[in-house]
Symmetry: C2
């Protein structure tokens, strides 16, 4: 089963907006065994929309539009769909009540232009949009499903998850799809492939392995496609276990959670609080922890100690140490953790100090040299990493490796 | 003049990769007066590539491909282009020497598969890729310019800027385009529009105004299109000045620099060092400062003080104060700045404390309440902001408003 994604909006064509919607839609479709044939970004233009719709109808059985559903004149998707199907409008009372309520809550006048958001082409099924004012629409054109969703990401995501996926599962006889995950860290894609090539080679046709690399991490996704759910669960579980066992030393998760979520969950489970001392990562790891809602329960805070002075003042790292071995050293990161645990009541301290680049490298400590220490009041682990030449890549990799060191440390607690 | 952008790669269709390339390309084309007609994402499939190329050739005079130029078998763009034009290959010696050198530097064996990266269709002009191993290619098909670029973002950007734009300017008689910028903060798009509607209404046909909103900021871009550069410079400067004067109190930049760059440049100019104390923004502002290479010259560091305990321990905020007025208060952010300037030798301190949400709000201090203080050892400015219900939006807005307060503070120094 194949789908075409058509994103509508001038802002996608002038470079103002980066389209993240279509990647989300593609992922959701993939999960239920629907492949995306192509993605087209077109402008808010009636002829372009109609031509794209005609073309897509000839190529795929599912067409998903996003965008062009706002109340203003430049949004013409709904009007164009009504004209394409040569139908008039009906008023959706549930949507009308919902939109009226939103305006009442915001103390804004409810104008005719807003009321019209509840009017939809007579031949469509309304996809009720609890997250916004523009309803989604579902059309059946001789078996081809045509779906129109708002372009606002959280509204699109809501409708895609709650309305579109269940209806697609109902409308089509789709194969059963089972995904299994193995997330690894600290080993390159090609080395990983080399380690498991015999397992990969003997996988049957209906089981696929995808490598999804992301900085120092590789996410392995096993996808089984079939008709018998029990058989398929057995088969995918077998390969999941075979691969997970083979690369066990590099695995940080056997499910889909993000790395920060894995570590956060572990902190909650082990009832530990963490504090950070960041130099070259400049607050990035703190920001990552606090991006998780509820992090105040286990994240104490930290120090962004870019200067020698703050390393000394906030964390008590001695000037002698800094002037002798320097900030990018085992001694310094360990002193940073000790200082952190002196000041804070956190159970675990993490320190990162390195040379992110582009400048600042020396022969001994080239750009990409990063020391990381993780410790509590009894023990400490520190490790030197040699990353790359690129500033952003070095910052990303530092954070990934620090989180992995925290995870390993916590597992032994 | 119109262009079609065609991105090639299965990773764009299964949701694994978010396409940022095409937005960059669109922006660069727009700057020189070329409009993007449509963007198509297609898979690494010979027939799809050929069909897309045929369609695009009928619609636009410029076609830009990205992706599918790697050395492995799944990358077929080059092969498909040679087959489309029915031509053989020639070896580009400059590329060969360049690729050989890259492999020598990395101490990797230089295989036939890598040598083949220097082979290109006989009818193409090579776009030398100093940033990578796959050369770009430029074809002329009866006046239609067909350009193939690698999908790796930094390689694509390099070729687009250094090779493609200059050649397009030479190949076509394009109108002269002049852009002027007015970047505002703390005023909504619709209020801004209301303030300048009379100026906007009297703009001539060839001068356009775009509103580019981004959290608490709106970037106004004035674009003039014409044939006489001197006239056009006069005309766009006139509207630039009229609008900039009208909304002066909200303007933080009259050029294209990012907000963090504007503030960083000002710190350098005024020879001031800055330190941060972040609560609800959790290190995001620190991370933003340190994302600018060279920031160690003016960024001292900061404290991410999520807990009461660290507010007290790192910054000396008294427990009495925290227990009476709470962390989200004028008293607290001012005490945080004072504490920061006590510990650090920085000239300017910034403190942010608020309730980002989703939980933690009270009747007095609902989610979205954020206090920000900026001060030096003589004076202090603090301000309460009321943002929104969404955690990420609140964090983003806090950082934007803190940077604006720093800018205003520095301007008065």
């Amino acid at each position: 089963m194949k789908a075409t994604i058509i994103t509508i909006g001038d802002e996608l064509l002038n470079g103002q907006t980066i389209d993240t919607n279509s990647a989300f839609i593609a992922k959701e479709l993939n999960k239920i065994g629907i492949t995306v044939f192509q993605k087209w970004a077109i402008s808010d233009d009636e002829n372009e929309i109609k031509e794209a719709l005609k073309n897509a109808t000839q190529k795929t059985s599912i067409i998903i539009f996003t965008g062009g559903l706002g109340p203003t004149n430049d949004d013409i998707t709904k009007k164009t769909l009504a004209s394409y199907f040569n139908v008039g409008y009906k008023r959706d009372e549930e949507t009308l009540a919902h939109v009226a309520q939103i305006f009442a809550q915001r103390n804004k006048p409810f104008l005719a232009i807003n009321e019209a958001q509840a009017d939809v082409p007579t031949n469509c099924t309304v996809l009720f949009n609890a997250s916004g004012t523009a309803p989604g629409m579902w059309f059946d054109d001789n078996g081809v499903k045509i779906i129109s969703l708002p372009g606002v990401p959280n509204e699109m995501k809501h409708l895609m998850t709650v309305q579109v996926i269940p209806r697609l599962l109902e409308a089509f006889t789709l194969p059963i799809i089972i995904h299994k995950h193995i997330q690894t860290v600290g080993i390159g894609e090609s080395f990983l492939a080399e380690k498991i090539k015999d397992i990969e080679a003997e996988m049957p046709e209906n089981v696929k392995l995808a490598y999804l690399p992301n900085f120092a991490k590789v996410h392995l996704r096993i996808t089984g496609k079939g008709e018998n759910e029990i058989e398929l669960e057995k088969l995918t579980s077998l390969y999941h276990k075979l691969i997970a066992d083979r690369v066990a030393e590099h695995v940080y998760s056997l499910d889909e959670r993000s790395q920060i979520q894995v570590v956060s969950d572990l902190l909650i489970e082990k009832k530990k609080k963490i504090a950070l001392a960041e130099s070259c990562t400049g607050g990035y790891l703190s920001q990552l922890f606090t991006s998780v809602a509820g992090s105040s329960g286990y994240f104490d805070g930290g120090a962004v100690v870019y200067s020698y002075d703050l390393k000394h003042k906030f964390l008590g790292v001695s000037n002698d140490l800094l002037n002798s071995v320097g900030a990018v050293s085992e001694e310094c990161v360990e002193a940073m953790v000790k200082g952190l645990l002196n000041v804070s009541t956190a159970d675990i301290g993490v320190a990162i100090s390195g040379i992110a680049g582009p400048s600042g490298g020396t022969e001994d400590k080239p750009v990409g040299t990063v020391w990381i220490a993780v410790g509590n009041r009894e023990k400490m682990i520190s490790k030197k990493h040699q990353f790359f030449k690129n500033r952003n890549i070095n910052i990303e990799c530092s954070v990934v490796m620090a989180l992995e060191m925290v995870r390993v440390f916590l597992m032994k607690e």
